[in-house]
């Protein structure tokens, strides 16, 4: 991993607060970290630690009060709304806890909504096979299980082969088995397509499959460690 790669994502001095006066609440109190290209980074922390806010700021759908984010050399704070949209369009993939699929588009078409945004999207049929959804490609979201729906939403995010895949509690609404399946899928995608992945979770077990673990509490980074004893998702237990 080159030095430039190491600095694919650089966050420095990030602060964010909500409200004003007495009701003012500091959510992020000076966050600094870097993420290398292709790295699988997990943001861990309890509810209210600021991890989702941090992810949203990284995704350009929320803004920081102070601090800087550099992604592949591009400064996020220098971008206007149009620039941010374009940034998300070209470089980002988003996976949420709720799948947010379009109800009257089938599996393939839902994935196509992501593919449309890229000039050179991944081959959809091959991706469907990777996602294990090829047989279900003509089904509507309401004909799928929760895990299958989350696969579709991952497919939608990954189909444009983004540089950065942001996952906000992707297994939060899923059972143990399905959660493991989804984590295995994310792992496979990381390996196959080499995307940088930042995943927000409160599930401590997941840190074991990550390259990089950042622990947040009260808006501050408490630990920023590289995981040298990485295990596969299949081996995870909780």
């Amino acid at each position: 991993m080159s030095r430039a790669d190491k600095k694919f994502l650089k966050v420095s001095g990030l602060t964010k607060s909500f409200g004003t006066g007495d009701t003012k609440q500091d959510v992020l109190k000076g966050i600094d970290f870097t993420v290398a290209k292709g790295e699988f980074c997990v943001l861990l922390g309890p509810s209210g630690s600021g991890k989702s806010t941090l992810l949203n700021i990284l995704g350009g759908i929320d803004s920081a009060d102070k601090g800087e984010i550099l992604i592949a050399g591009d400064k996020l704070s220098a971008m206007n709304e149009k620039g941010l949209t374009n940034y998300r369009r070209k470089h980002l993939g988003y996976v949420f806890q709720m799948y947010n699929l379009i109800p009257n588009l089938n599996v393939k078409e839902n994935i196509e909504t992501g593919a449309y945004l890229s000039d050179s999207p991944l081959d959809i049929d091959e991706l469907l096979k990777t996602l294990g959804l090829y047989e279900h490609r003509h089904k509507l979201p309401n004909q799928l299980s929760g895990g299958q729906q989350q696969r579709v939403s991952i497919g939608r995010a990954i189909v444009k082969n983004p540089d950065l895949l942001l996952c906000d509690e992707p297994t939060g609404a899923l059972d143990y088995t399905t959660s493991k399946e989804i984590l295995q899928l994310i792992e496979e995608i990381n390996q196959k397509y080499g995307n940088t992945i930042i995943m927000v979770t409160h599930n401590e077990a997941i840190k074991l499959m990550a390259d990089h673990v950042i622990k947040l509490r009260d808006g501050k980074i408490r630990h920023d460690d590289m995981n040298t004893k990485k295990i596969t998702a299949a081996e995870l237990e909780w």
């Binding site: 759908i61 009257n104 991944l122």
Partner: protein, 918 residues
């Protein structure tokens, strides 16, 4: 690893596929909006196409059928000299011509008078001289004679000698003396003096006679001539009777078949060829169910209807140009052969049509030309050898018979356009509210798409697709229906009112722009604004379902009502935007309903009260107050009372109202003016209630009226309002009437009577005004619009049902999850319906009540503005039962929709509340 990655081609936007699915998923709502748009667009587009085609064919008919540029009626037939002068179009210098004519007459008269005087003088002198000579001769002879004569002998001799001398010398001497006298300077001086005095008198008289007219009409002998062609268009007006309807009493105006001017389109049958044939107006024939081949009794004679025609100068059957409304029910026009016409026993109206030899290029020039020609007409008839009076002068651009249909079509188009735009706007808002509800429902998806990199523009375009598709399809289908089915319906409607020639369907860009481009634009703009406004929020707010513009910190506190009441209040507060739309929609419907329900009520109440409003059952206007023997026309009819009347103009911006000015005696049994008024001796008048209502005239206001064919103005103070609603009228004392209008003592115009007058020869009766004449406005409006009003009422119910359906659907959809949740909690369907539906029911009822009032107010002012452009006045009326009917109609629509709503609530599954948002 990266080598294994296989890339595909860039895909098309999959959201496009979704557009169709969205439409299908919500097909009921879209279908409803689609159908309403289609119907409105079809109706309005049909109206535009029909109107444009008709207007075009009417415009063409000006040349095709050689339509007049105007007509005038004279008191007697014009001689060749007058006609030729009129055709030249030059104004006569009335003063110069009359003066020359008078001078010439005066010269002869003065010379004759002087000569007569000289002759008389000379004759006297000669006679006296001869007598003197003879006397001297006799008496000197008697003195020379020895035998003196007695006095008797002398006298005898003198007489003989005088007679002999007179016979011998008188004529010769008178002649010689006259010759000498005529040659003398004295004679010449006398002649000159006489002429001078006569001319002075003539000048004074002429100046007095025409000075005022000259000033008023700016008669100018140097004006640019307005050459015209003049055509005789004499007519006779006779009673019309039909065999099939004994109670029918109509009037037909009969012309000799025309070939040079004001020709006609034969819509059925043929032109008259035999003396017993008549071709009559198609519209009137339709109204009286007369067909080709039927017989028609004209002035007591039976004729066969040979053709149904549309005369180019009678596209609307106006009996008189000053009538408030046309009358195709009891007024008819027809043409027949000369033999047939000559056989009709009635006085002939000496009517002439004229056409400019050089066509005016626009209406302004037409007005200038017609004003100039009026001056020509006034000046030339003034100098005409035979005494002529202008009975009527109607330039084509002011002719109601010619223009009313075109104007009405223009107004209909404007009105139809406005209705279309309002309804489109209402539908567009409903659409927009629907979309904004959808946006709320799909907030997570929108947030995700925006977070994934979809631009606002892409989403705006996507959400705009449905309104665009619905709008475009509705416009296409609406236009097709408009050009086919609805055009024929509209043409049918116009044919029920107007005598229109045949037409060709015309494709105009105007109809396309107004019925397609503009409604689609309205639809798109309103939706665009709402969608762009809704999508302005950040992706994060969509993801968090945080879409309220202003986030209320606290919920509104409600009083300590029962739970159900508070729940309903919450439903109301949550749906305020929808209820606003409901209010707008229902108000729109109520305005239409006010017209549909109020118009027939207004007309029938007017018709019913006309008898009471008339101050006399018959108002007989005489052609002359003296018969051919010079005796004043009297009647023995009981209660008949003389009255005086003139008609003046009340000029308003863009419209001139005809005002009847009546002179009344104190103690009149028909026009009962206050006794105090007669005593006051003031220069004040009463105005009729209709006049006062229409123009908001109050006691002590000043009113300005002017003569029709002169520029003479009158200014009077309003003494009081006279309770007379059947016409626009002014009342004054007979004394004031005579002094204002320069009439002599004993002047009158006709008789008021409650009994029918039978002892006045018909030829002296110009017109009899009865309640039927006054009610004919209402009858005609009723006949041409009344039938459509009931259809209109049903249409309003359908529109209100559609609006209510669309909006209540949104309200229930918004609350689907909550409804599902309360079902889980154990609420019954009935309870849930009462929670969600009673709120809407209450809002509907309150909205109805408010919009009932608003609709009434709107119609009242619309009615006023409509009648402002028509002569006459009667107020827009709505009875209590009319209000109830309106209310019930909309409420029935609501009740029908309630059934759908109830079913919809019942169908909401309990699991919905437990499912994910998607």
């Amino acid at each position: 690893m990266e080598n294994e990655i296989k890339n595909g081609a860039r895909c098309k936007n999959p959201l496009r596929k979704r557009v169709w699915r969205d439409c299908l998923r919500d097909w009921k709502r879209y279908l409803m909006i689609f159908l309403m748009l289609v119907l409105t667009i079809a109706f309005v587009s049909g109206m535009y196409v029909a109107n444009n085609s008709m207007e075009h064919s009417l415009a063409e008919s000006v040349d095709t059928y050689a339509r007049e540029d105007g007509h005038f009626e004279l008191s007697s037939e014009a001689d060749a000299e007058l006609l030729s002068a009129l055709e030249k179009g030059e104004q006569a210098d009335v003063a110069v011509i009359l003066r020359e004519r008078a001078y010439k007459e005066a010269e002869g008269e003065v010379e004759k008078a002087v000569r007569d005087a000289i002759k008389e003088n000379i004759e006297e002198s000669v006679a006296s001289a001869i007598e003197q000579q003879v006397k001297e001769k006799i008496y000197s002879a008697s003195a020379e004679t020895e035998n003196a004569m007695t006095d008797e002998q002398k006298e005898e001799m003198f007489k003989k000698a005088l007679s002999a001398a007179m016979d011998e010398n008188y004529d010769k001497a008178v002649k010689e003396a006259l010759e000498k006298a005529y040659d003398s300077d004295e004679y010449k001086d006398a002649l000159e003096d006489g002429l001078e005095e006569a001319k002075k008198k003539i000048d004074e008289e002429i100046d007095e006679k025409i000075g005022e007219a000259k000033e008023n009409y700016e008669l100018d002998a140097n004006a640019v001539p307005v050459p015209v062609n003049i055509y005789e268009l004499f007519y006779k007006e006779l009673d019309e009777r039909i065999n099939s309807d004994a109670s029918y009493e109509g009037t037909v105006r009969v012309y000799i078949d025309r070939d040079k001017v004001d020709r006609y389109d034969i819509l059925e049958g043929k032109a008259p060829q035999n003396a017993d044939e008549i071709a009559i107006d198609r519209m009137h024939a339709d109204n009286k169910k007369l067909k080709v081949g039927d017989s028609l009794i004209v002035g007591g004679k039976e004729f066969k209807i040979c053709g149904l025609i549309a005369l180019v100068d009678y596209t609307t059957l106006f009996e008189s140009n000053t009538d408030t409304m046309f009358n195709a029910l009891t007024f008819d026009v027809g043409v027949m052969t000369k033999e047939g016409y000559d056989g009709l026993n009635s006085s002939e109206h000496k009517n002439y049509a004229f056409r400019y030899t050089e066509k005016p290029s626009d209406e302004i020039e037409e007005k200038e030309k017609s004003d100039s020609f009026l001056k020509v007409l006034i000046s030339q008839t003034a100098v005409s050898e035979e005494e002529q009076e202008i009975k009527e002068y109607v330039p084509a651009y002011l002719s109601e018979a010619i223009n009313f249909a075109t104007d009405d079509m223009g107004n209909d188009k404007a009105m139809g356009g406005v209705l279309l735009y309002i309804l489109t706007a209402v539908l567009a808002f409903i659409f927009a509210v629907t979309i904004s509800t959808t946006l709320e429902k799909e907030a997570s998806v929108i947030g995700t798409l925006r977070a994934s990199g979809y631009t606002k523009g892409e989403l705006v375009r996507y959400y705009m697709s449905a309104p665009l598709i619905i709008g475009v399809f509705a416009a296409i289908v609406g236009n097709i229906l408009g050009y086919t089915v609805f055009k024929d319906i509209i043409v049918g409607m116009y044919r029920a009112s107007y005598s229109l020639p045949s037409y060709k369907t015309l494709w105009t860009s105007e109809a396309f722009i107004r019925t397609t481009i503009i409604p689609i634009a309205i639809m798109l703009i309103i939706n665009l604004i709402v969608i762009v406004y809704s999508l302005r929020l950040t992706p994060l707010r969509f993801l968090r379902h945080d879409l309220k513009r202003s986030r209320r910190k606290k919920a509104i506190r409600l009083p300590r009502w029962k739970f159900f009441s508070r729940f309903r209040m919450r439903v109301f507060l949550q749906n305020i935007p929808n209820y606003i739309m409901l209010f707008v929609g229902i108000t729109f419907v109520m305005v239409l309903l006010s017209m549909a329900v109020g118009m027939p009520t207004t007309l029938s109440s007017y018709k019913e009260s006309v008898d009471e409003m008339m101050f006399a059952d018959h108002q007989i206007i005489l052609t002359s107050t003296k018969d051919s023997d010079g005796n004043v026309i009297e009647t023995n009819s009981e209660g008949a009372e003389r009255f005086s009347m003139v008609s003046l103009n009340y000029k308003r911006k863009g419209f001139t109202e005809e005002v009847m000015v009546y002179g009344s005696e104190e103690g009149s049994r028909y026009i009962k003016l206050d006794k105090g008024y007669f005593g006051s001796g003031s220069n004040a008048v009463y105005v009729s209630k209709a006049f006062a209502d229409k123009y908001d005239i109050k006691k002590d206001d000043m009113i300005d009226l002017s003569e029709k064919y002169e520029n003479k103005d009158y200014r009077w103070r309003v003494y009081d309002i006279f309770d007379y609603s059947a016409g626009i009228a002014v009342f004054m004392s007979n004394d004031m009437f005579r002094s204002e209008f320069g009439k002599k003592e004993g002047y009158f115009t006709g008789y008021f009577t409650d009994e029918e007058i039978t002892d006045i020869d018909e030829k002296y009766i110009a017109k009899v005004i009865t309640s039927d004449d006054v009610a004919k406005i209402a009858n005609q409006l009723d006949n041409s619009l009344g039938a459509y009003m009931s259809y209109f009422q049903y249409l309003c119910v359908i529109i209100s049902a559609a609006v209510l359906y669309l909006l209540t659907k949104i309200i229930i959809e918004k609350n689907e999850r909550s409804i599902s949740m309360v079902k889980i909690l154990g609420y019954r369907d009935g309870e849930i319906s009462s929670l969600y539906m009673i709120t809407t029911a209450l809002v509907t009822i309150i909205t109805e009540l408010i919009s009932l009032y608003l609709g009434y107010i709107f119609m009242k002012s619309y009615w006023r503005s409509m009648l402002m452009e028509l002569g006459g006045w009667f107020e827009f009326k709505m009875t209590a039962s009319g209000f109830v009917k309106e209310f019930v109609m909309v409420f029935i629509a609501y009740l029908i929709i309630t059934v759908f709503d109830f079913i919809r609530i019942k169908k909401i599954p309990k699991v919905l509340a437990l499912k994910n948002t998607e």
